[in-house]
Symmetry: C2
Subunit: 350 residues, 2 copies
């Protein structure tokens, strides 16, 4: 029986930096490369992966500005394949820890159909568990863990706390709101369409939600939805919404910041500044930026809690799964147009 | 022998709010009132105080804007005498805890020559201790405690940490820098005159200092003075300096904020916004506003430490003592012109 020794693999690479605006096909391009499956060509402690699922996350935007001054993620090198949190099937292995047909997750997965990667950062999935694979890209992946760190570790709200979540129907926001509800908080979210307002209230159990494209006077909106002020704000957007929130914070409020969607596509000098940081003093507010990678020592604790919640149906997840590696660019762009519902995932293969 | 039953007392009261710019004699006015010394006219658990020293602090500015939206301190009522941290001598007492000629400190002391006040917030000073009285307005008062909370409690720098302090020759800044030096940090301060740059280096042991009125490109200045980045920034000014600092922060940097001198005299809508808060995320920075009043449970610990430092001459203090109650307005205005050296105090009587 003839066994293929080379496989063609389509992959997305960075052709040019995008200092501002939403990236397009001038910046991210698709190309086809050959991946060798021959035993001799695979380095020791490496495996060949057929990529199944790719998580599409906003933080990628900060890696392709071409600036280092943004201080978020380091710039991605030009001409190199993009990487993302992903999942794949081992099809060749030169590691004793992994066998062919193992399903693994990999935090630095090439946005490609196939890849040869070192085995040390792979984590095997128990594919017999009653958890659908896309959950590993959302509830049990970057967005779920980010939401958990924001609410459970940094925010630590009390029952009855008033919690506000921006970009609430996105990957991080939907889980953050549900964590806060499970802690007995009153939770309000902002999102970019009426349909998603309904989603937040009907599916994810938010007490209130509003469409920031319609209720454009954020101060008025927050006066309406937070008559008793805000105790915890999970900031996913920055800019004007953050400024409005700072007019409504209660004493000792906490503001974990996981990212700033409104800031990614603008060069720093043209961003709208936040003018009322003085409010941090009088209300004794703690504002804290974080990267979930710095909390990996608690990832096990998170997984255990999240798996239990999923099995008991206490946390719901919504995925927007786009088919084929070709859909990656559109999937990424959808994050900035507010057209996505829940966690955006690219299904490369099954 | 005839004993006076009434004494004339000059006092500063708020005649009009000052929404912007530096307040002047339209806003703060002096008047003379009569204070009765008659036993029958003094309520129980009250004393009559002859005021000796008044601490002049920037936070007062936020109480006379006439806005509640600033969320700093509550607005001071019109026509009421101003209050400040102060010290006085008990000249009449209807409290068993205090006797005539006791020297006491009082956090809400009227800016007046004499006053009748409740005894419950008074603290008696051991006037036989070898500590000059003005120290109770500075090292052992609001500025010293604010600096201690910022450095010891919130900032918690390690030996070798790179510490930046703005408004460094002011009441809070001079103590904060010395606390950081005692912890083995490298300390740089910014201040508003060349003379104060020398003061910081020669008197208070700062490693470096710069004049922000001359080195007006704050980014360039911080590149020069912080080749290894900033681990801790005690923000006393906000605005442009805070924005520049956020371009130089190291991973996990902390930014305690005790006030924002650059923001007090401007209405919120005209303030320059801080545009690069996204840097909080990538560098995982904690920014925390605080009021020292919320840390009063640790005031005893602070006092013990500070008194030891003062006796061992490990902490130096500089006071600008202006004579007479009449000097209060000019003393307050001097805080905003950068003409003061160290802690500004009004000596009302001896």
């Amino acid at each position: 029986m003839a066994v293929a020794t080379v496989v063609e693999s389509k992959e997305w690479y960075l052709a040019a930096y995008a200092p501002e605006n939403v990236p397009n096909s001038d910046h991210l391009k698709l190309r086809t490369v050959n991946v060798s499956l021959q035993h001799d060509s695979i380095p020791d402690q490496h495996v060949v992966l057929q990529v199944l699922l790719i998580s599409v996350d906003p933080y990628l935007r900060s890696m392709i500005t071409g600036r280092v001054g943004d201080l978020y993620m380091p710039p991605h090198p030009l001409n190199k394949v993009m990487t993302e949190f992903g999942m794949g099937r081992v099809i060749r292995s030169k590691s004793s820890d992994f066998s062919e047909s193992d399903i693994v997750i990999y935090p630095f997965c090439p946005v490609a159909e196939y890849c040869v990667i070192p085995s040390n950062f792979l984590r095997k999935i128990d594919s017999t568990a009653d958890i659908a694979l896309p959950n590993y890209m959302s509830a049990l992946g970057v967005p779920g863990f980010t939401a958990w760190v924001a609410i459970e570790v940094i925010g630590d709200p009390k029952p009855g706390s008033n919690v506000f979540i921006s970009a609430a129907a996105g990957g991080v926001g939907m889980f953050a709101g549900q964590f806060a509800k499970l802690k007995g908080c009153r939770v309000v979210g902002s999102t970019g369409s009426d349909e998603k307002v309904q989603l937040l209230k009907d599916e994810f159990g938010f007490d209130e939600a509003f469409n920031y494209r319609k209720e454009t006077d954020f101060n008025a909106a927050l006066t309406k939805y937070f008559p008793n002020g805000i105790d915890l704000y999970l900031d996913n957007v920055g800019g004007e919404m953050l400024e409005a929130v700072l007019n409504h914070v209660n004493k000792g409020a906490r503001i974990p910041i996981s990212g700033m969607m409104s800031q990614y596509n603008t060069i720093p000098s043209e961003r709208k500044g936040v003018k009322n940081l003085l409010n941090l003093v009088g209300k004794e507010v703690k504002m804290e930026g974080f990267l979930c990678g710095s909390f990996l020592d608690r990832f096990g604790e998170f997984l255990q809690q999240m798996e239990t919640y999923l099995k008991e149906d206490k946390i719901k997840s919504k995925h927007e799964i786009n088919q084929g590696i070709e859909s990656f660019l559109d999937s990424f762009v959808s994050l900035f147009s507010s057209s996505n519902h829940g966690k955006v995932i690219v299904q490369v293969a099954t």
